[in-house]
Symmetry: C2
Subunit: 431 residues, 2 copies
């Protein structure tokens, strides 16, 4: 336990410092090499890279067969299928409510202005593989692509050896109306979506988390391909819990561990004004750790995390705002007085019965959140990320005659004669 008020300002700052996330030096050249090959040789490069890195047969299809997407549910337990259905429904409900509406108004007589939303036409979604399939990652991106009406959606996920794409991934994709699943991961998959290949359509925006190679490839793609966008910067996942004296140490520990098990670089912080709750949490951490399959990973994450004693809950909120956590859990008797003071956060979990895993999977909110302090300026993933806006203006001749009083003097002050002339030529001419 660390007592916040016993620390100097510098020590306090150091305590909230996130671990560095610089990629290894060789990540960039490896990605550049892979991406250049995919750009130049298309499908044949994709197959060669998958054979080399993931031990795929060079005969293996790049795209998962349609029938395998349709049949996925037969390979799932009823329980898991129902779980994915329920998560899908809640996520869809919450994001459907975010459907943007165009704005149209007259700013002055004869001058009408509109803001219109248009879905991004072609999007790519990356779903990491590794130790386990991540159907939740499909839903958290795929539902939004589906709601936006994007005309092209490509999902990429790595598959090793002679495996199939996991049925939970295929089933989640099917719910989201995704028909193109690229069974290839890493920088090669990002390159295929960025440049296009014989099998893979070029996309306008690439979403999704991934390892250092995926992250680097996304950054390189955004630099190399004009008009390509990527989603927000990625970083290690993190949770901050604020717990008052009536909080249950078992719940607090369970939430800390569900973040810590994500990876050794996860960061978990508890702020409490209660010695007893901190002590109970410490005991519960040890007890629960013993039961976890990923206990080793969680222990590593806990090693650079902190249980901090604060003076009161107001101080905890101020510390949380300084840190700007991806996930903030409020295990408070009444969170209401504090909620409006919270500014920098990705997602808030209110009360004793709202674990982080509720939002990770099924409450309906998106689990793609700004981490690593980016909550001060970046947004939780929302339906708007699958749209872009443009404006439309229509001015009548009378409208232009009045607007000329604003346009011409400013254009002249800015030394842009032709801008003023474009108005004068119209008003001088008879209609």
């Amino acid at each position: 336990m660390i007592v916040w008020n016993s620390l100097s300002g510098e020590q306090q700052q150091a305590l909230l410092q996130r671990p560095g996330v610089a990629a290894a030096d060789n990540v960039r050249p490896i990605c550049e090499d892979i991406m250049a090959k995919v750009q130049q040789q298309g499908d044949s490069a994709l197959k060669a890279i998958a054979a080399k890195l993931d031990k795929r047969s060079t005969e293996a299809e790049i795209l998962c067969p349609q029938q395998d997407i349709i049949d996925a549910q037969q390979q799932l337990s009823e329980e898991l299928k129902a779980a994915i259905d329920q998560a899908y429904t809640n996520i869809k409900r919450f994001h459907q409510a975010q459907q943007p509406k165009s704005i149209s108004l007259s700013t002055q007589p004869g001058v009408s202005c509109e803001l219109r939303y248009e879905a991004i036409d072609a999007v790519g979604i990356y779903v990491p593989g590794g130790s386990a399939p991540l159907p939740s990652s499909v839903l958290m991106q795929g539902v939004l692509a589906q709601l936006s009406g994007a005309s092209t959606v490509v999902l990429a996920t790595p598959v090793k050896g002679d495996e199939q794409v996991h049925p939970a991934i295929r089933y989640a994709a099917k719910l989201c109306g995704i028909t193109q699943i690229m069974q290839i991961g890493g920088a090669a998959a990002i390159a295929a979506m960025a440049f296009g290949s014989e099998s893979i359509p070029q996309v306008n925006k690439i979403f999704g988390p991934g390892n250092a190679y995926v992250t680097m490839a996304k950054q390189l793609a955004a630099q190399q391909v004009p008009g390509l966008a990527i989603d927000m910067p990625a970083g290690p996942s993190e949770v901050l819990i604020i717990a008052d004296s009536r909080a249950n140490g078992e719940y607090v520990a369970a939430d800390l561990l569900s973040q810590a098990e994500h990876g050794p670089d996860s960061q978990v912080i508890l702020l409490s004004d209660s010695d007893e709750v901190i002590a109970a949490t410490e005991r519960a951490l040890e007890r629960q750790l013993a039961t976890l399959s990923r206990a080793d990973i969680a222990r590593q994450a806990l090693a650079h995390s902190a249980l901090i004693k604060v003076r009161d809950i107001d101080q905890a909120v101020r510390i949380s705002n300084l840190y700007g956590p991806e996930h903030l859990i409020l295990q408070l008797g009444d969170s209401t007085p504090y909620l409006n003071n919270i500014k920098n956060v990705g997602s808030i979990f209110v009360g004793d019965y709202t674990p982080e895993s509720a939002g990770d999977y099924a409450s309906g909110t998106n689990h793609v959140l700004p981490t690593y302090g980016y909550s001060k300026v970046y947004s939780s993933l929302s339906l708007l990320d699958f749209y872009r806006t443009y404006t439309v203006q229509t001015v009548t001749k009378n409208g232009l005659a009045d607007l000329a009083n604003a346009i011409i003097p400013i254009a002249e002050a800015e030394g842009l004669d032709a801008h003023a002339n474009a108005v004068r030529v119209r008003l001088g001419a008879s209609s």
Copy 2:
């Protein structure tokens, strides 16, 4: 005149190719050096750099004195003051209508989810200097910062020698409630806003156009400072005009020129189904060019631009969608049938009396627009760019009992025991 249908597919593509915009090799190291100095030495580096690059006195203030902002209007003509007032009012009206609303709903019984908007706390606005003051650039960013309620707004603009910040800039800033005007430009100004200094507060997001040094400094700042964001990628300005046979060549030429005068790298394209309109435009271009103070610049831009004959207006719309212009002007008898087919664009100007300069200054729409093909995926600047979102969820014990049916099976499929355990520990414990 170029006839679209006489070109091969490759020639068509080449015609719509934008000129390259790679920065000179020395831009990056120069910016890195300036930024490191500002980060390490703060105000003293700012003063030294302004003395060296802009011939400022080392005694000159970094911030424009408050009284000079208050007194600005006394140094303006009534005409220019009224023009800025009118533009400010229209821009404010259109962006005020974009004020975001939080979304709150219950996704299933006992599970409530919210999407909340929070203004980005501290923003920096860059206003280029160079040949003329740009009060419109102040308004197009400053009004949005004002409407968002950002608590810190810093405006940076370069000033040479013993000049003052131009009164039009100061007056526009005053209307927007901006009290901090940094009288320094270039990479040093970006660094000051990114890192903070004794005089300049550190900001969360930096907006605004600029030269190659400003653009590079913004990119470096976003890489170097965790949690710092920048606005959309910048590129040369461009206009595409679609004109039918009844269009007025004088208007078309005036709009082409008002884009061409921006810079030698501006791109202007006319698509028309009428030989007569194209010929009339060519004649009007020569006539109008003779009258312009920036004729040399406009001529250079026109040299790599194109007047293209199309089969019909539908074909013109398809070409425009391929190109994705920053500005699209429709000089058509009736634009309505075409408007909904236009997809990739920053801003549309409808009809004979809506020159681009209307939107550049005063109609109310924003003139910060995605260029260089980015309209396929990026948005016109809107009030939302000054906000970020976060989510809040509150689950009751009964809600969690039902949500458990979704959370636990997915968590187990993903191999994340602790995620499942965070639910089980709550449902097992008595409340």
